[in-house]
Symmetry: C2
């Protein structure tokens, strides 16, 4: 067997641990619930047990290179401290890295969950042929990750890539972060349901009202199902999702001029419903995109109006993530491999 590392995806709901080899083969995956209510130490115990189980099992036939952990929250990269995490109450200022290194006596790299998802898609997914890429993760909230020159771009203190809190509507819906009109308020699963409930409250949609009444779990998925059945009110909501994403992606394209932007997370399953609106915005808002003859299956020829032909192989790609919920596991597992290679 090839050398391997352990990737951990520590979410507010699920705790997943995987052994991944240096070629990106998922050797074994353990999925547990994150027992947040039983407290931090309980979760750390569960995690360490699973890590030990996997590393014991495979370490005779090959080298275990280290542990990468993706965590939802703000991390101090220098100290490996979890500064704060809304999904992990009681973990604020906890030295996750030092604690797990102490228990398992192995190198641990702690990283933001949206960053490891981006890094996974860069390693093995939609962006595997690119050294520079950005990813938007559309889940309960909207996360983001930026990879430049093959490395996660952390910024000054690990807070780069917060694309979910880009202002899309200056006077828009209030966001938990203190801003108004953040992308997260238009492109997260939470936002999809909120926009549907707003339409119902305004008596603007009988179909959504009926669905909300009959479907106790009225979710972004329910609204997507309506959209693919052709319901115009549901489709309008996903056009708003796409428009907000298109505005933010245009800003990223104009600012960073990256070759590829990847959209993942649960809401990305509704790609067909919101992607046309993304490309529509990009064509209007973004010189570079129009100029780079977009690899946009939904809008062939959209770049024809531009005067700048950047030459072959220089298309701006906006695409769906490929690794689904495993992106973060792969990205986390990749971190110790890279650190090892750098030694």
């Amino acid at each position: 067997m090839n050398d391997f590392s352990i990737g951990v995806d520590l979410g507010g709901t699920n705790l997943r641990i995987a052994a991944v080899d240096v070629n990106g083969h998922l050797v074994e995956k353990v999925t547990l619930g994150t027992k947040v209510s039983l407290g931090r130490d309980h979760v750390i115990n569960d995690m360490c047990e699973a890590i030990q189980h996997l590393s014991e099992k495979y370490k005779n036939s090959s080298s275990m290179l280290g542990i990468g952990i993706g965590v939802p929250g703000i991390i101090d990269m220098q100290t490996g401290l979890l500064r704060e995490s809304p999904n992990l109450p009681g973990w604020a200022e906890y030295p996750v890295r030092a604690e797990i290194e102490r228990r398992l006596n192995t190198m641990v790299i702690l990283e933001n969950d949206a960053n490891v998802a981006a890094f996974g898609e860069k390693w093995l997914g939609a962006a595997k042929d690119h050294d520079d890429m950005a990813m938007l993760t559309l889940g309960t909230g909207v996360g983001g990750g930026l990879v430049l020159g093959g490395k996660i771009w952390h910024g000054m203190n690990g807070m780069a890539g917060e694309f979910g809190h880009t202002t899309v509507e200056p006077e828009g819906h209030p966001c938990g972060c203190g801003n108004r009109g953040c992308l997260e308020q238009y492109a997260s699963a939470t936002a999809v349901v909120r926009m549907a409930r707003e339409a119902i409250a305004e008596n603007a949609s009988c179909s959504l009202a009926r669905a909300a009444h009959s479907d106790l779990e009225f979710s972004a998925k329910s609204i997507y199902n309506l959209a693919i059945q052709g319901d115009e009110d549901a489709r309008r909501i996903f056009r708003r999702v796409g428009r907000a994403l298109g505005i933010v992606l245009s800003t990223l394209v104009n600012s960073l001029n990256l070759p590829i932007y990847v959209v993942g997370g649960g809401v990305a399953s509704a790609w067909e419903a919101f992607a046309p609106a993304i490309f529509e915005e990009l064509r209007h808002r973004c010189m570079v995109y129009a100029a780079t003859a977009p690899a946009d299956p939904l809008a062939q020829g959209g770049g024809a109006s531009s005067h700048v032909d950047p030459g072959p192989g220089r298309k701006t790609i906006i695409t769906r993530a490929l690794l689904g919920s495993d992106a973060g596991l792969f990205g986390a597992a990749r971190l110790p491999m890279i650190a090892e290679a750098a030694r």
Copy 2:
């Protein structure tokens, strides 16, 4: 004398050429008009003559390392071709680099004018202590430049840093780029005058109407003069400038988490009139800024509400450029020095 290089700032109005030594000392500067109407070859002749004059004069006492040229327009970095330049009609697809290298037999580096301005401020100006920085240049339009890891970030095809075309108001004023509501439509000198004329047309400002009537050259500077005299209508216009800048700077802070963002260009002279609105937006729209106890002389204590203390020396700085119109000259002159060092 120390080794030196030649920096050129080729604008639509002025053509400036300077010898700058490796310590950043401006040895000599030649300022000419850009005789755009006499054609491309005439301008190239003027430029080459001035470059030759300076390099002949100093090359006996020290080495001339090369020539850096800042040009307003889109440049193909690989070929040194000027793809297009609205301010230099007749130059599209012209191989500027090859032509000047041929004539002068010296290494030439061609670069976008906003990028060299950023690079100048990074070398000797407001961002000289930082390897990562972004700059917004507020002139007739709004340019931008991004320096990451001490190098200009070009992106896939040299079009990164176009912060002026970030969407600030999704349904806002139409922009020449094809988008609506670009930063350039709210924070350029052109935009300041347009917003004043809009206020006049709406009969919303007697003071601006009087000024426009009596001042034939009714300019952004005239409106700034009214603002510093306390005219509320003029001040309101600069608050709109600051608000638009604050929205874009918040996006940059949330996305890139850089230590410093520099605002330059002619309109930056009105810093006092628009800066308070920038910081106001940043406080609301930007987790990282609030978290990093801003080095904001106008808003001490603005970060007090945050839970994240990034520690000493980790402030997000938003500040004025220091080098004025020489930033581009210095940045252009720096390019061959860096290229030389890399050999």
